[in-house]
Amino acid sequence: MTATRLPRQSSLDKQDETISFFWNNKKLNARKGDSISAALLANKYQIIGRSFKYHRARGVTSAGVEEAGALVTTGKGAYTEPNVRASTTELSEGLFVYSQNAWPSVRFDIGSILNLFGRFFAAGFYYKTFMGKTFTGKTLRDKTFRGIPPLEWGRGTGIWMFFEKFIRKAAGLGTASRQADPDSYEHLHTHTDILVIGSGPAGIQSAIQAAQTGKEVLLVEQDYAIGGTYLSWPDKSEFKTQISKLNKQNITILTRTTAFGLYDDTTIGLVEIICPEERAQKPLKPRQRFHICRAESVILATGALERNYAFVNNDLPGIMTVSSARTYLNRYQLLVGSNIMISTNNDSAYEAGLELEQAGATVTILESREQIGELLLQQISGRRINLYLGSAVAKANHGVFSPCVKQIVIAQKTSDGWRQSGSLSCDCLLISAGWSPVIHLASHQGCPIEWNKENACFISSGDDKSIFFAGSAAGIWQFEDCIQSATQVARKTKKAQKQSSIIGGWHTDIEPLYEICVPAIKGKAFIDPQHDVTASDVRLAHQEGFISVEHLKRYTTLGMATDQGKMGNIIGLALMADALNRPISDVGVTRFRPPYTSISLGALAGAHRQSHFKPIRRTPFHNWSLANNGVMIDAGLWHRPWYYPKQGENLQDAYIREATITRRSLGICDVSSLGKIMIQGPDSTIFLNRIYTNPFAKLAVGKARYGIILREDGMVFDDGTTWRLSENSYLMTTTTNHAAAVMARLEELLQTRWPELRVHVTSITDQWAGCAIAGPNSRNLLSEIVDDPSEISNETLPFMGVKQVLLQTIPCYIARISFSGERAFEVYIPSDYSHAIMQFIWNKAQKFESCLYGLEALGTMRIEKGHVTGAEIDGRVTIEDIGLGKMASQNKDFVGSALRNREMLTSPNRPQLVGIFPKDKHKKFSAGALLNEAGKTKGHPLGWITAVTHSPALGHWIALGFIEGGLTAVEDKHIVLSDELRSNFLDVEIVSPHMYDPEGTRLHG
């Protein structure tokens, strides 16, 4: 096949602009407006790539999204984009285009040797070779049975691990860049009354008609030019009339925009590719836009795709669909061959045949039907067109020095099947074995799909509510009928069912043709050329029992390549139906899934990448902490100060110093991320008393209380202190992690469960900055900073006391609560003043030995004290498990009180919170390690470690964890810690979780 560029027919067409591009780094010229395929054909390149498995030469097979052969890589370096369909990608100035899966070159590919061994690589090859039992019956993972390849051939996953890298290298398509994508992408929410998908005759007509009814219309076209089938026709007058009508209406038109998925509530995923020319001028434009489009209704004017059929060597370069030859002729002025063979089973191929003959080619039509309509016969009479009735292709042969089609072996229909009958030479073979309406989007939404026997295709009629079909997407083949259906759908003058009268429309019925199989001729007949699935693979699947279409798909990988089997799936189904001796309608079809064509992950990610991947929550002290050398750590969405290193300190040095100074003198810590919920209203006390396990009814104004909230199933949900600010208002604090969940839970209880309670809850987490001031000098510092020091004495502000005080005339709250176990206060400052007041506090703190401490030192001190956090309250523990059983009131009912008493939750053998010391005080260990009794280290462990730290107060590594039965159950047992991952095994001593200052004397002083 050698394509020839023809002169333009009409002088009205604007002068063609020449642009240049690079094919495998060789500079070539093409016409502006060419697709990559058109440009390569015009430059006489026929072999575009090598196939997935057998490395067979592949060329252009289509002019649309169904392309199965011409896959290329575009761009260089970080801009590399693999598996681009050459048939639908617009050529831009200077574009780099590369062939794929070939070495050293696409014409001479070493890998094609695999083709000779093709019969070993049939469907299921990998499963059979690398999975399953060894021949001795030993299982895959048996370590005693490792040999040296290839002696171990066929012995399970071990060998797969060895060969995988070679197989992955040999098989496959393009290679993605390993660099980060340098382009940007955008998300848009698009709203419209009616979305029309496809801008062919039916799409344009329905857009015009819908807009005339006053609806807002969005018309999307996946191609870079509007027009669809119109572009493939020689006569453009009708097209021009329609375009001028279209432009008069208020219609938004998006080209280069693929509707890739149809979702619930008529939500459509659109990906719009920004015109490369536009981006060349405005480099800040995104590469693609992902539109989440909401429409009242969607009209699918998505057209139909032409099919091929299976015969031996049907994948040779030079074989393409009839309609694509017509597109290359009329859209790109490319005559694809001079001696053209057409094989068809339906009326649609004749128009193309006539046009190709008109353009100067010799045309031979192999018609599988034994009779065709009078009209078609009249049209071809007197033209250079040979017609063979009852004929099809049995095999395509390539030339001696070229892998392109050179000759075909004809199959002649006889009373008992197909028989070989001679051969003909040709330089191009065009196939039309019927048309498949593009029903993918309706299938995404589960609209029923039916096999239409008369037209040998699957059709859908939408859902009759918001999903409608127009034109050939509905199985309508005649132009006038397509226009009529588009008008009906857009105006909703008739119900969609009425369309059934105009479905089809050929003069002579199509005669189904899926495969030509002549007994004497052997070779590969492809049904899915992209994944190298052959007709015999389908029969093998049937033979091995994979007879459901779902199994067929997975066993053979039919339709799982980048084209998702747009051409070949139906052939596969037909062959399976044939093997099962059942009609295609019985075999059915796998449901189509989004995306319709491949879309870039970049478009889906949009701007949500790197630091924008998730939102960041910064505390009001964030910048202040950074200015004071704070190192931040992610805590959920929050960025919290982790540690504040001095010169030369690492994390461990820093937190040990911070914890030491805090216990010895004074430390200040940002605790702003704790959840803060205002609870107000006359029934607030009743509400809190129902939520918390411990009594809140008698909490005095000006006092705080530590409380635990359970879930309804009796497990611990969250903990925190709640401060009574006045008779009817409380400030509840929650853990950082559960702040949002606790808020939603309180709202749920108030709105759905106890609507009679007069309580209002408000989140004030962001409105108040919080800092903990801890250590023996904490009160001394406070008396320096509060306007009236008499308010914070041991008598006026006792342990668990709360009060509002003025700091530099700003009303702040001070609560005397301690998480570190030291004498400590939490100071809450209005966020707007936090920076200035923190600086003021820190300046005053310089009078004492003092430090800022981060999350790591906070963790150290809480572990020393045995205070629990999310590491222990992981949703699987009861209040007794964490040693706080006495906080569950026996005198009231609260959320979770009924179910916490279930038998398995009250068992004394449940794992309970303990402290862990290493026997050898120099030993270090990690969280996640398991606890066992010595000598019983196999099987289910007795316990596990939840949190580990080096304790500066005790001088060695310590941990919190859980162990069955708690401290009393293991007191006289020899417990060992095992950490298989890090190969760390040591003897440990189980102690009370209150490892430091168990009497609490330090915090009461």
Binding site: A744, E748, Q751, T752, P755, F894, L899, R902
Partner: protein, 94 residues
């Protein structure tokens, strides 16, 4: 990508909402027996068709809602405020 019509805020994308659970459970009082609580917390119908469920308009007005939805098609038939008095107030002010 279903949309839910919040009685306060209007039709919004479901990503603004968070799913609660079965909206037809009659939760017992806190002093009810363990068995009663067990049934309320753990027993759920696996409905094929219309069911009433609770949703919260988390990134909106934060109302808890009773949504009647078809589990097969995601079609939504009605949305009400879960708080009966608020629902009544909304109806009266229409």
């Amino acid at each position: 990508m279903i949309q839910i019509s919040c009685p306060f805020c209007g039709k919004r994308d479901h990503s603004e909402f968070s799913y609660g659970g079965d909206g037809q459970i009659n939760y017992p009082s806190l002093d009810a027996a363990q068995e009663t609580w067990h049934d309320a917390v753990f027993l759920r119908e696996n409905i094929y068709g219309r069911q009433i469920e609770t949703w919260q308009h988390l990134y909106g007005c934060r109302s808890w809602l009773l949504v009647e939805r078809d589990t097969r098609t995601h079609e939504i038939f009605s949305v009400k405020l879960a708080h009966a008095d608020w629902q009544k107030m909304m109806a009266e002010n229409r």
